[in-house]
């Protein structure tokens, strides 16, 4: 009886003390940070993404993710700042990138928080730095069918392309083969740029100028050399014979991709930086069809590989009008740490990758630093943001990653190609600063000489060309 009477009292006391203690030790809600991320079909669900959740745990922030559907970052930021939408951080990646100039304009306008620097949190980690930026890929099934060897010089390349054009290597009875295909989107897809490297070092990314490496030397504009002219004449011959894709001067990358990935097997060769830029990762049959070709020797035995020093791109900016600048900085600083960057590049440690004991071989040769169990880069996954956002992956990991054993893995295919080109990279890793006007002038003339709207053998025209830009 006594116990029965006391019971409600005890419960009441417990409720009161519970409420009081709950009030005293009230759990602080995490700060909500609103983050805009460009949509990517390589991320399954940002709300359950492993990396996002890891960042939340690490920073104690609650990340409220908004997906950006626009494709033009400048327009998106214009709309964002003019509307006053409550977004604290904007991330970039893939095709959604912001140039230094575009960023500068937003910073000057006071819309992008600049802190002590540019306001840009960099993305450094998508590819290994300091590498060959253009690789030639050839259809070895066609070589096999036609009993041809992989070309080692420009003369052999011409013979192979001619056989591709005339001997119906895809066996469909139609004259539908494109011996050497290309696209206008980037120099990496323009195969004549690679061919010109068999005549003289040709770096279209840096206005084709070789920087002087000592006081006794002067800059060399390689486009004005006899060797370059000889290379142009060779490319013109290939074009005249129908060996170079006629659509490469105005056709875009989508067109190139469609042609190369076509089940009709219509492309003999193409050039690109990474094979995955052109061949879809989920297409192992097409991937197995193409192998890399080492730099071709020109008539004088010249072989060059185009050097590409990847500049880090913009990974994220902070909205200067945000009321949570400190939280935004905390997030982005965390993303720039090695621990976070390795997740951003390779996924969950212990599940998708781990540090190597050193008994594995890196895909770039040498001892490995990272062993991948599930190589998920450029696949549909939910472990990281597939290159979106800031990161800083040390080179020792980018170059020390091992192969995951999948033959169609593009990083492995690229790594092997890089090893074949490595010995032909230029000695200096300090290229000339690009001059946009000069590049436009030179690129236009290169196109005209190859398509034949100007005659590269015409002395007067050539003289006018090499003095033309100075006028």
């Amino acid at each position: 009886m006594k116990r029965t009477r006391l019971f409600p009292v005890i419960i009441l006391v417990l409720i009161i003390t519970g409420s009081l203690s709950g009030g005293c030790a009230k759990i602080q809600q995490p700060s909500v940070l609103r983050v805009a991320i460009p949509y990517s079909d390589k991320i399954q669900d940002v709300n359950t993404n492993y990396y996002i959740r890891w960042l939340e745990e690490k920073t104690g922030l609650d990340l409220d993710i908004t997906l950006i559907r626009q494709t033009r970052p400048g327009e998106y930021l214009d709309a964002l700042f003019s509307s006053g939408t409550d977004i604290d951080v904007v991330m970039f990646g893939g095709d959604f990138t912001l140039s230094d100039e575009e960023l500068g304009a937003f910073t000057e306008a006071g819309d992008v928080y600049s802190g002590d620097g540019t306001g840009m949190y960099l993305n450094y980690g998508a590819t290994a730095r300091n590498r060959a930026g253009q690789i030639l890929w050839i259809n070895h099934e066609w070589l096999k069918k036609l009993q041809l060897s992989v070309p080692t010089n420009t003369e052999e390349l011409e013979a192979v392309l001619l056989a591709f054009k005339n001997n119906d290597p895809n066996g469909n009875g139609k004259n539908d083969e494109i011996p050497l295909a290309g696209a206008v989107d980037d120099y990496a897809y323009e195969p004549y740029e690679l061919i010109l490297n068999s005549f003289v070092y040709n770096d279209p990314y840096h206005s084709r100028i070789i920087r002087a490496v000592s006081d006794s030397q002067s800059e060399l504009q390689t486009a004005y050399t006899d060797e370059f002219r000889e290379g142009l004449a060779f490319c013109r011959r290939l074009y005249e014979k129908g060996l170079l894709d006629r659509g490469m001067f105005d056709g875009n990358l989508s067109r190139l991709r469609e042609m190369v990935n076509s089940p009709d097997d219509i492309v003999g060769a193409f050039t690109s930086d990474s094979v995955s830029d052109v061949i879809y990762q989920g297409n192992p049959e097409i991937m197995a069809r193409f192998i890399h070709v080492a730099p071709l020797a020109g008539p004088d035995g010249v072989r060059n590989a185009l050097y590409k020093a990847d500049k880090p791109v913009c990974g994220a900016v902070i909205n200067a009008h945000s009321k949570r600048i400190d939280e935004a900085r905390l997030l982005l600083d965390t993303m720039m740490t090695e621990e976070a960057s390795l997740i951003a590049r390779y996924g969950e440690r212990g599940v998708d990758w781990d540090y190597s004991e050193g008994s594995d071989v890196s895909i770039y040769g040498g001892a490995s630093t990272i062993v991948t169990f599930n190589y998920i880069w450029n696949t549909s996954q939910n472990k990281h943001l597939n290159g979106i956002g800031p990161m800083n992956v040390p080179d020792k990991y980018l170059k020390g990653v091992t192969w995951n054993g999948i033959n169609s893995d593009t990083e492995y295919i690229d790594g092997r190609a890089q090893m074949a080109y490595r010995d032909y990279l230029p000695g200096t890793a300090d290229p000339y600063e690009r001059d946009e006007e000069l590049s436009a002038y030179l690129d236009g003339r290169v196109k005209e000489y190859i398509t034949g709207s100007r005659d590269v053998s015409n002395e007067e025209d050539w003289k006018e060309f090499i003095s033309g830009y100075d006028k």
């Binding site: 009993q147 594995d360 192969w403 054993g405």
Partner: protein, 395 residues
Amino acid sequence: MRNRLLKILPALGVLIVATLLAGCGSKTEVHDEWLESARLDADETPEELYTQALKEDVLIVYTVSTRLTEVKESFEREYPGLLVEIRDLRSPNLVSAVEENYQKGGSDCDVVICSDNSGDFKTRLADTGIVTGYVPKDIGKHFKTADNGQEGILSFVYEAEMLFYNSAEYESCPIENIWELTDEKYRNRIYMPNPLRSFSTYTLCTSMFQTESERALENAYRDYYGREYTTDPKRSDGEGTQNSCAALFWSRIAASTVFTNSSDEVVEALSNGNADFGFLVSSKMRFSDIGFSMQPVYKLEPFSGCRTSYSVSLARNSKNINTAKLFIRYLLGGEDGKGEGRKPFDTLGTWSARDDAPDGNPVALEDIDLIIPDQDFIIKQDWTEEFWTRLLVKN
């Protein structure tokens, strides 16, 4: 109470062991529902299988050979309406992937094509019943070796993990004895895949420790150095190696070798002049057709490599059993061995396992100086991973 517990303990123990065995995928019960419905002993014509296969989903093939992509393409042409997805993996990754798929209860795999000499395939997939054999009766009788110790799982082609030389550099093989590879002049001029990541290279490395191989290696040592091989008590190659002649050989080779991820990289190194010699899988010989400068070493004292084979099997729980059976028939070349499915394997460096379908190799497999791996021996060598890890880290 204590007595009752004692009485039920043995029964509990049996139950626990049985549960654990079942959990481990041990092949304790072969007459399961899947196996019965698969009708692996049935006499079925390709036409009957095709009719049934049209009701099934995309066939998923896990393979270590890129040539399966060619088989897929011709199979899909031959049997319109059937689709095949190829997952091309390195052997250790393939075994793990198939095992994981099975353990998760998935059916994301129908046909498995794998190097079957290292012991991993046998112990982890065949002995556990994760894969099972399918040998069509009318075709199986034509195979030279119908049983390679894996309960009817068919080795459908033979290859070799063997030495090649750079044929742009040398008109003929510049060495006659395998110990010549340890000469200083070949330092960093030998390439080979990492044996811990390539089943066929692992098989070569481990089969050299077989008793007969050891004796042959010792004799070759005497022939080359002019003195008997003796165990140096000061030398230690690690536990399990017993400071044998093979351990000495691999220790010296590891110090002179550039290790790669795959045979393809060895082919490229031979062809671009970075390598004088390379150990690689013989099927890559086909790349000499498109100008890669490498030639196999058929004759070498005491051996140039070891024989390897590739098996084809069905993944247990395959939901596309008719398509899988039809695909395996097709891959084996059909009843007469002349079908398109065999053609991608009818290349230099791949030897036919059929007695009615000759291959086009200039030298018969039997005429090459090769070790025949003893799989039971290889499986027992549990020290090799540590041995190779040490050598790889050191070098």
